[in-house]
């Protein structure tokens, strides 16, 4: 069964149509890499998946649950919206860490608030909440260790390099255990020598069986990590297939031109 099923997604900003009907599906544990020049709609697609934008048309299903359908009424409560949103995690290009909180708190803040609210609603006692908090902290430390930052738990983000900040952001996204983790050009804001450490973390997540959607300009990385590649141009999927198909023998002229330009950079 497909983990993620996106059908005919459309989105316009004013008169400019950014997504002109995008459909794809993804199986559990697969990594989808989306490439394409800027303005092709890749980021908008990710933002629609994460409900940062609401698509004008189409539908999104996770597992057998339809979490978004533009034709249906989307009058969801804040709460229901939040539960749907949590199917996805998103790692931003510009990290967006919370500067006033320590690295550990960045990772634990959202799950702590979420769990505390759940427990309070279930009228759980103070001890239960305390235990939940301790468990989240333990999990946070484990995640930070996984991304190689166990020594930085008490630092503030401003004291970290870009690559370290992005790894914190990945740990933060993982703390809510999303079904599908999305990356929006995770290395584009980094100095070239820092991209490797972030890409290694993403690769190790693939080895752990994470389902991921990665928008990237790192072609070598894309080729290595992807199970499926989508090349987007002008709001549509211009070409898709296995990495061998798309990178090895692209059929579309646009794809060929894009890849040639990309490798010459």
């Amino acid at each position: 069964m497909n983990m993620l099923e996106v059908q005919n997604l459309t989105k316009s900003f004013g008169s400019h149509q950014v997504l002109k009907g995008v459909s794809f599906s993804l199986k559990q544990g697969e990594v989808l890499v989306i490439i394409g020049s800027s303005g092709s709609g890749k980021t908008t697609l990710l933002r629609c998946l994460n409900f940062l934008e609401q698509a004008d048309g189409g539908s999104i299903s996770v597992g057998d649950e339809e979490i978004f359908n533009a034709s249906g009424k989307m009058n969801l409560s804040d709460h229901a919206m939040r539960d749907r949103r949590l199917h996805f995690g998103l790692v931003f290009q510009s990290f967006n860490l919370f500067p006033q909180h320590t690295v550990l708190k960045n990772v634990t803040l959202a799950p702590t608030l979420y769990q505390t609210a759940q427990l309070k609603k279930a009228k759980a006692g103070r001890n239960a909440i305390k235990e939940a908090k301790a468990a989240i902290e333990t999990q946070g430390r484990a995640l930070l260790e996984m991304v190689g930052l166990s020594e930085k738990v008490d630092e503030y983000p401003c004291r970290l390099s870009g690559g370290q900040q992005q790894r914190v952001a990945i740990a933060r996204a993982l703390a809510l255990n999303p079904d599908i983790l999305c990356f929006d050009e995770p290395t584009s804001a980094l100095d070239p020598e820092l991209t490797g450490e972030v890409l290694r973390v993403i690769r190790s997540l693939k080895d752990q069986g994470r389902t991921m959607v990665v928008v990237t300009h790192e072609m070598e990385f894309a080729r290595g990590v992807a199970d499926h590649v989508i090349y987007m141009a002008d709001g549509i999927i211009e070409e898709e297939g296995t990495p061998e198909e798309v990178f090895g023998s692209p059929k579309s002229e646009k794809t060929k031109a894009f890849l040639a330009a990309g490798y010459n950079r």
């Binding site: 940062l52 949103r85 995690g89 510009s94 967006n96 860490l97 919370f98 500067p99 608030l113 983000p157």
Partner: protein, 228 residues
């Protein structure tokens, strides 16, 4: 002239000044936040009206506002100030005058604070809101746990400016016969025919604004443990 007697009376006057100062802050800061939110509401009529209100308050003298407030009970509600005083449970007319001044000060300063707070909120990058959203936080949680501290840090310097101005603006209360430190100083000047009480008064203001300056410096330092 009885030096210590004068100083004692000035101290009593300054306690009224401090009371006006403190109460203005206590009410104007929350009201400033409310006005800032209202001026950012997506529903246009509300944000527009809030902005017009802020424009009127910031565009007219505080002294004029103080005077106008005293006419509101009689002009708008048709209640003489004497009855209004007992309605509010105030013991003396002086208490009522103080209340009027306080209301004018709170509204005036809330408007200045609102503009600063709105600027501070808008200055926090949209990415912070989005990060909170994709992590499943509610709007209230995002504001409380992510945005607020960043806003506080951004507004500390401009707020400290306004607050130090407020210390000195309290002198306007005298125009509504509130017996604060300047009123007492003038009384002494007339009584003893010396100017020194005015000099002492200025030292009171200087000392207090000095304390505030140090306090704000400390707060700014405390908040600068991170950079953005």
């Amino acid at each position: 002239m009885d030096f210590w007697g004068v100083i004692f009376d000035l101290c009593q006057g300054f306690s009224v000044t401090l009371k006006l100062f403190a109460l203005t802050l206590v009410f104007a800061i929350p009201l400033g936040f409310i006005l800032a939110f209202l001026s950012m509401v997506k529903f246009k009529p509300i944000s527009f009206l809030t902005k017009v209100f802020i424009w009127i308050i910031r565009g007219t003298p505080l002294l004029l506002q103080c005077l106008l407030v005293t006419f509101i009970p009689s002009m708008v509600f048709d209640i003489p100030n004497k009855d209004f005083q007992s309605m509010l449970g105030l013991r003396t007319m002086a208490d009522l005058q103080f209340t009027f001044v306080l209301i004018a000060f709170v509204i005036n300063y809330a408007c200045y604070f609102a503009v600063i707070i709105e600027g501070g909120i808008k200055n926090v990058s949209i990415g912070q809101h989005e990060a909170g959203k994709v992590l499943g936080m509610t709007k209230g949680q995002i504001f409380r746990h992510v945005i607020l501290m960043q806003v506080v840090r951004k507004i500390t310097a401009p707020m400290s400016n306004e607050i130090i101005t407020l210390v000195k603006d309290t002198a306007l209360a005298r125009a509504l016969s509130v017996i604060e430190i300047i009123a007492i100083a003038f009384e002494k000047v007339n009584k003893y025919a010396v100017l020194s009480p005015l000099l002492y008064t200025s030292l009171f203001y200087l000392a207090f604004s000095g304390v505030l300056t140090i306090l704000f410096h400390y707060i700014e330092k405390k908040l600068s443990y991170y950079s953005v």
